[in-house]
């Protein structure tokens, strides 16, 4: 299964790469006039375009671009004139910090909450479901603004914006508390709902009854056997959520002024810096492929039926 994914991953990256390259062709007008503005003379624009190699045939440019991209060279930014790869590598740790912390929060809160709801049918479960319905509908940017208002502006507990590198772990964590909360809140409840239904399903299985009938303690049945059997669907959900977190990071980075990949993408978009956008999209695609692969490997490892084959 994982191998199948790897086979799929390569054409997928190729498709994304191709699409991002031809994105440039769709830019109305030529990049020179786009970047240099109306004041530039036609000669200046032609020179600018030639500098980018834009006077060569499309397919030739595509070939050399793809060749360089495979080797990690994503070209130069049109606006800052620095290598795109370098900009992306500088931004990646911030996005990774954000998403990894968020997924840790989601799993650490979502699994116990879902289990709790599954074990308490009735009012507790109904309240849980209603709350989850609300939490999932709450847009992360609205929650982010609300958190800034309450905990940064009013209570002054956390900084409203900015990022500190991991070299100062306490400051790093402190700066990321609000963004991570805004990002993780809704998805925590999505995961909790998934855990809840998986848990209800598993707890009604015969083997739970036979293990209890054999005298195992409830705790061991619940935490070892039931939880273990819930994990396969839950891991798949976590995979989807990691992808959702990448999208959420674009919005949250903007809101909290964090210079991550999402900010790079947005800068590229607002400044019409096509190489920057291409690079960011490609890097996001690589993350997506990696997450999908990891999810499949984990799901396969959790399922003894798949492992045997």
């Amino acid at each position: 299964m994982a191998l199948g994914r790897l086979v799929l991953a390569i054409p997928m990256l190729f498709v994304v790469a191709t699409a991002t390259f031809f994105l440039q062709q769709l830019v109305p007008g030529d990049p020179g006039s786009f970047i240099l503005g109306n004041e530039a003379s036609p000669a200046e624009i032609r020179q600018f375009d030639a500098g980018l190699g834009l006077n060569k045939p499309v397919l030739e440019r595509y070939g050399s671009w793809l060749g360089r991209a495979i080797r990690g060279n994503l070209g130069m930014s049109w606006t800052s004139h620095s290598p795109v790869t370098q900009t992306l590598l500088a931004a990646a740790p911030i996005t990774l910090s954000l998403t990894v912390l968020a997924i840790v929060v989601i799993v650490c809160l979502g699994v116990p909450l879902g289990t709790l709801a599954a074990l308490h049918p009735g009012p507790v479960d109904r309240f849980f479901q209603a709350f989850a319905g609300f939490a999932i509908a709450l847009p992360n940017f609205w929650l982010g603004v609300g958190l800034v208002l309450l905990l940064a502006v009013d209570a002054r507990l956390f900084p409203a914006t900015g990022y500190t590198s991991l070299s100062d772990p306490a400051q790093w964590l402190h700066a990321l508390v609000l963004p991570v909360l805004a990002l993780a809140f809704g998805m925590t409840m999505t995961l909790a709902l998934q855990v809840r239904s998986a848990m209800i399903d598993v707890l009604a299985r015969d083997y739970i009854r036979s293990l209890r009938a054999a005298g195992l303690s409830w705790r061991s049945v619940l935490f070892k056997h039931a939880l273990r059997n819930c994990m396969a669907p839950v891991v798949t959900t976590i995979g989807f959520q990691l992808l959702g977190l990448l999208a959420g990071a674009v919005v949250i980075e903007q809101l909290f002024n964090l210079p991550g990949l999402g900010s790079v993408l947005l800068t590229g978009v607002t400044e019409h810096d096509v190489p920057l956008v291409q690079g960011a999209v490609l890097l996001f695609a690589v993350f997506v492929v990696a997450v999908n692969l990891l999810t499949d490997v984990a799901a396969a490892a959790l399922n003894p039926r798949a492992r045997g084959r």
């Binding site: 799929l8 054409p11 997928m12 699409a19 994105l23 830019v27 109305p28 049918p121 319905g133 999932i136 509908a137 709450l138 847009p139 940017f141 609205w142 603004v145 609300g146 800034v148 208002l149 502006v153 209800i200 399903d201 009604a204 299985r205 015969d206 083997y207 009854r209 036979s210 293990l211 209890r212 009938a213 054999a214 005298g215 195992l216 303690s217 061991s220 070892k224 056997h225 273990r228 059997n229 990448l246 999208a247 674009v250 919005v251 903007q254 809101l255 993408l265 947005l266 978009v269 019409h272 096509v274 956008v277 960011a280 999209v281 996001f284 993350f287 997506v288 492929v289 959790l302 003894p304």
Partner: protein, 659 residues
Amino acid sequence: MTQAPIALAAAPSKPASRAPTARAWLRALLGSPVSALSVLWLVTVVVVSAFASLLAPDNPVQNNLSALLQGPSLHHLLGTDELGRDVLSRLMFGGATLLWGAAEATAVALLLGVPAGLLAGYSGKKADRLLTWVADLSFALPAFIIVVALAVIYPQNVVILMGALGVISAGGVLRFTRNLTRAVRDELYVDAARVAGLRRRQILLRHILPVIAPPLVVQAFVGMSVGLIVLASLSFLGLGTNPETPNWGQMIYDASQQITSDPWLLVPAGAALVLTVMALNFLGNSVRDLAPGTRQSGRARQPRLHGRAGRRDLPQAGAAGPAEPSQSSLLRVRDLVVAFPAPGPAGLQAVVDRVSFDVAAGETFGLVGESGCGKTMSVLAVPGLVPAPGVVSGGSILFDGIELIGASGRVLRGVRGNRIGFISQEPMTALDPSFTVGSQLREVLRRHGRISRRTARSRCCELLREVGIPDPVSTAKCFPHQVSGGMAQRIAIAMALSGEPDLLIADEPTTALDVTVQAEILDLLRGLSERRSMALLLVTHDLGVVADICDRVAVMYAGQIVEEGRAGEVLSDPKHPYTIGLLSSMPGPARAGTTLTAIPGAVPVPRDWPAWCRFEPRCARAAEECRVGPITLSGLGPGRLSRCVRVAELAGERGRAHD
């Protein structure tokens, strides 16, 4: 395919449960107050957005520098923003862009995904493989990122951005539709339609599309809610906005710039967005419950108890009878009542109604009856494992002098496995699929004995050998899915034996197995019970099993014991018409030339149990006296009981029948 001609003969029709009627749809949409409120809210949003220019009190883009950042007032119901514009008017105008954008993305996704999914699911392999591949590909794309990136070329072009979102999402719809179609395609009625010569297009449109429509509607609701969030996020980022047509996402961004001076501005747009998304999600969920093949987790095990209001109340008085007085009984069950929640004043419906029986040490006791008569619930009550929401609502279960009803978890855990073992009907589901056979057995062994890992390993092999597994070492390394049904049942028995119990409860231990394996498992149980002088409480619907291994037997019908006695006596000289019926429906003793009789009808569901003899509606020998009131279980001799008022007449009849 082979079944098609049969289905043809009986005009192909869709099972009623599969295609919900319009009324069922309406009930799902308006049934609960919350879903009715959701519909109301969505209708309001749509109507207000459509007629905003008529309904809005003010011009949404008209600045008014003399009324900046005012709170709610009579003049401006929701206040004004940083340019003095009326927030209520902006809110009323702000839904339309979002709704159109979300609807566009959803429509594109459905229009591309559904036909392709139908094709992939219905046609042959090639199209399926290609389309599934395309779907998987699009599934692996970072949709939101791509939409954001497209904004570099089409800044603030909502139509293109949301169209792109729809195209990328079509892959998910394709896969979803394909799986649904796959499931329906092999249904009997679709086969029948195919054999009847309907064209593919007709089959797809008339027989498949209506069935898969409800889940697709859910998908549409989900798509709408995702589309709203995506477009609001884009607007918040400044990519989907247009100053001339405000939308809620943009309003939240504007508000975020004013949070120090006027936090109130966050509320109206945020609430409108959250409520709309909540309503869409909620309706999606309530429609999903209508979809065919929906698993309603947690409810599956609940017996069918709902229906007309509790016409029948809890156990009827005077129904209990004397059981064999036994000094030496290991297990003594008296007046056991197991009930499930039911509508009606009582709130509970008994499924096991004042059942009493005894099992002596070392004895094999059978509990016999058709499915649904309450025998499994009766024995599950013994180790305290009646599944929720069922409850043991009365009676007493004395095991070796310990009262188990109402006992603490500690007491029950002490008894389970150690003193009372349990094996269930389906061996393949009775073992945890995620752990090896050996790891489960060792865990249970260590729980009972407080022994070292090493001892556990050797005890595990001993046990497996004892239940007749030829190669214990390699079997212990297997996962449950790697062993056969008969093997799995042996392993389940080994697990139940691990604590060396005095009583083994076996709930239809052979029902799910092949005939040849059945005999082996019965032999194993008999041998174990003799060797370990272990009592066996055997639940079965098979009188052959009773004849084979039981010392004594109780026959259950509709939650009650109707006959009890030594196995030989009950089988050769039954004292209840139900037992007679069960015996004559066995193929074994039937003689050539006589028709195989079956008892007409089926076991009634608990709410339909008559207030008099519960077997009367199905009984060939019923008379006026049978309908007077509840029948008591009366003694006919030592240890011999029957719940029939016409026992005397039966004896003569039965005698004649044997001539």
